[in-house]
């Protein structure tokens, strides 16, 4: 599925690299003991270190290091036993130290890969260049006062993992798939909650374009702090078109930082030239190089959960699901957990169909996530059980499902209370069949005349008289036997 931009001067392709900032799940900040809860009152989670009081020193939080190693392992990446923290120098009111402690040329995690699951069921490998640990900055609140800016330092010093991809993506869809997959991996690993709307996962989008068939890397523009998958895709689409237009008009793309305006769906230049930053990175003399043993890496590796790719393989190989269905089910850990609870001891393919075809529609209708599903996995499982043991037909099951959406009830009770149990008593079905045949002399004639489709009319009559509870298989069988007599 190639994404081609038709320019006046020819066809262009887009080259995309993403830098994703993932807030590390940890109780305390990267270099201080202050708490990291989201949404706390401003400036209530600030230590002396975070506020950069004179003489304060950073001390590395081991939990954050473990989380970074774990994430690196999840990205099948090189783990560097020695890495170095560096100061990235710039002035801003919400950066108390006047520098951000980050990692420059010696990151904790090196090259890795992410496998994208594309909508057509195919996969594509995207390279990860590196993952490094760094401090988050605080927040400047410009909307609290007409003249003044307020500063909230709660976020200052919170640990981030910056995950940098290779420029391997070629369409907005691939970039979207990358972000979703990365989010899925960190959520499986429980190293980042991946909530883009809360800012715990943020994305910088690097875009350049080049004529189709060319292998050059042209000047890129970086769009900062995009906070949803959809916006990232929109920003890429807009950027690619903007750059093609520039080249078409004989211009040159300038390397710059841009901002995505989600209202207008466009990017615009953020910094003028005189503010071009020279970050003057140098090793932070307050911190020794970060070193850990192979044993620590092995210990963390032993605790890795099953990740989406492995889980997908299992769904295909053990459950016999299609690659597409497997991919859909494993994308979110919560969905996979739900599915497995439904499928437990039952027909996995049937469970996959119900989750993907029926439940997803309900969730999207109601705009809720699977963890807020009105139908619990246990109850959906029971419903499938009722179908499998012929207690109800698939058709009745759909009615029960509708009731479950409204009431969240137990399907066994619903079937019991509403008397929806399938009639499997041959005698009762035979009576209904006989009645239908007796009532449809004209239809019997048609059937005998070779119109086999008319059988459906008889089935409908039987179902009507049994309020749909007659076992359809038995009804069909009996009707044929009697009509063919």
């Amino acid at each position: 599925m190639s994404y081609v931009i038709k320019g006046e001067t020819g066809d262009w392709e887009v080259v995309i690299g993403l830098e994703v900032h993932c807030q590390v799940i940890s109780n305390a900040k990267l270099f201080s003991g202050a708490a990291t809860n989201f949404g706390a009152e401003p400036n209530t989670q600030v230590s002396l270190v975070d506020a950069a009081m004179p003489g304060m020193l950073p001390v590395i939080n081991e939990t954050c290091v473990r989380q970074a190693i774990k994430t690196g392992l999840g990205l099948k990446a090189q783990i560097n036993n020695k890495s170095v923290f560096a100061r990235k120098n710039y002035f801003y009111a919400d950066l108390p130290q006047g520098y951000q402690i980050s990692q420059a040329d010696q990151p904790i995690v090196g090259a890795g890969t992410i496998i994208l699951d594309l909508p057509d069921g195919s996969t594509r490998e995207i390279g990860i260049e590196r993952l490094h640990l760094e401090q988050d900055a605080g927040k400047s609140l410009h909307d609290q006062d007409p003249k003044r800016t307020f500063i909230d330092l709660n976020r200052t010093g919170v640990a981030l993992m910056e995950i940098v991809s290779d420029p391997d993506m070629r369409s907005p869809e691939e970039a979207g798939a990358y972000l979703r997959k990365l989010r899925s991996i960190v959520r499986y690993l429980e190293t980042c909650d991946g909530n883009m709307d809360q800012g715990s996962m943020r994305c910088d989008v690097n875009v350049s374009v080049r004529p189709v068939g060319s292998t050059e890397l042209r000047t890129r523009a970086e769009t900062k702090n995009v906070n949803s998958v959809r916006f990232a895709m929109q920003a890429i689409e807009y950027e690619a078109a903007r750059q093609v237009e520039i080249y078409d008009n004989g211009g040159e793309v300038v390397q710059e930082t841009r901002l995505f305006d989600s209202q207008k769906g466009e990017t615009r230049s953020m910094r003028s030239k005189e503010h071009a930053h020279d970050y003057r990175y140098f090793p932070d003399p307050d911190l020794l190089p970060l070193m850990f043993s192979d044993e620590l890496v092995a210990e963390i590796k032993a605790t890795l959960p099953e990740l989406p790719d492995e889980r997908k393989d299992r769904y295909i190989n053990v459950f016999g699901l299609s690659p597409y269905d497997a991919g859909v089910l494993v994308a979110e850990k919560d969905t996979a957990m739900y599915f497995e609870a439904v499928a437990e001891g039952r027909d996995a393919k049937m469970a996959a169909n119900w989750v993907i075809n029926n439940l997803f529609a309900v969730l999207s209708d109601k705009g809720v996530s699977i963890t807020e599903s009105p139908i619990s996995a246990v109850n959906l499982g029971k419903l499938l059980g009722l179908i499998s043991d012929d207690t109800i037909s698939t058709k009745i099951a759909k009615d029960v499902f509708e009731i479950m959406i409204e009431t969240g009830g137990d399907p066994e009770k619903i079937v019991e209370e509403k008397g929806l149990k399938q009639i499997t008593d041959t005698g009762a079905i035979e009576t209904a069949v006989d009645a239908a045949i007796a009532a449809g002399t004209a239809q019997v004639a048609q059937y005998k005349g070779g119109n086999e489709k008319i059988l459906g009319w008889f089935v409908g009559q039987v179902m009507k008289s049994t309020q749909g509870k007659a076992n359809p298989g038995q009804v069909n069988k009996l009707l044929k036997e009697k009509l063919d007599d």
């Binding site: 003489g55 304060m56 001390v59 003399p285």
Partner: protein, 496 residues
Amino acid sequence: MTKLTELNIASARDGLNKGEFSATELAEAYIQAVEAGRDLNAYITETPDVALERARESDDRRAKGAHIGAMDGIPIAVKDLFCTEGVLTTAGSHILDGFVPPYESTVSANLRSAGAVMLGKANMDEFAMGSSNITSYYGPVKNPWKAASGSDAGKDLVPGGSSGGSAAAVAGGLAMAATGTDTGGSIRQPASFCGIVGIKPTYGRCSRWGVVAFASSLDQAGPMTQTVQDAAIMLGAMSGYDPKDSTSANIAVPDFEAAITGDVKGLTIGIPKEYKMDGMDPQIQALWDKGIEWLKAAGCTIKDVSLPHTKYALAAYYIVAPAEASANLARYDGVRYGLRVPGDSLDDMYMNTRGEGFGDEVQRRILIGTYALSSGYYDAYYIKAQKVRTLIANDFKAAFEDVDAILTPTAPSAAFALGEKQEDPLAMYLNDVFTVPTSLAGLPGISVPAGLSADGLPLGLQLIGKAFDEATLLNVASSLEAAAAFNFKLAKGASS
């Protein structure tokens, strides 16, 4: 009885233990001396109330028979680079106007829990950048010593720097001892200028937590005292591993005082030929030679050593230290504490605040450091300087395979008059030529007063030791001190 302000830590400790006087009496005597000695401008902030309260607590401990610390009841000055809870802390800078820390630095907290009594916060070069205490926003400190002859006779002299207030306070009898910090010589050079003992311990021996940072990879706290024994007592009280400082060494602190045996027989002392510089003051060379003779007489073997990269040390230091400082001082931006000079925009506010808040020398070093780290210059300056630093450390490592300590002069001259060298930063930087290599290598160095110049001013000799071997260093220093029989009390006479 001797005047209380003429005692040192060891003798005051004896007097206190015997009940000859109380800590309160000692504190009162020093509070009076501090008031009487204000002309020296050795203190930025005097804290007589804190001193009396802590002295009373010390007396209570002795009365109750509670545990007595190594510094119990000893009145000291604390360099104003150490953050002190509830007490104004300025780092000698306008930019920290009104800054009262809600926390206590580890070193001053260690001293306090050892029973020390804080008399006040000692004046210093702004952010510890300087070698003559003339860059302080709170004005220059005067050296209690005066030249008896020569062109500077009778003039006010600099105390050295950056720990100039600490050195002048101890030399002038305005504190029994003082804390200093040393980045490139800021303890040792003023100790030499004021005729006192000053030791910069091994990097990592004393915690940097709560000490206003100048150059993080070089800054070390240390004691400035009247005697080597006092230095040993006080260093023991200041030292120790601190998990709040990632560069603090998790190494046990030996009993430094017990390490001073006076017996240095069989030790080998290295004399680095590269420290014999062209145009060196013959008085300095003569004192150095005398030091060699004293140690030889005490039973040491003298051995020539080579530290071939010495000549690059000053240049490397003046890249590394300003580079780190340029980042360390970025936090003084007018946003959260200290001085704020308003402006029309955030950038204007930064420029106004930092332009007014920092003095010339600090601005110069921030600019040098920013330049050295800039894109395109980083490799040529910062990286090159780091390589030089490694070579210098390797020089020492090689030398210390053959020797137990190294003897050099502390500074290239005696104290000079206030106002001299002021317009020439490079001449000022040369003051650190003998002390900077030790700092770059992270090794301990001690300055011991060893004699007087022809004009009657104190001159120090520096001993450099192996990493974390302050014990040997103090022992050799004590031997040197005994041989030199330096008359410390001259300064107190001169100041009155």
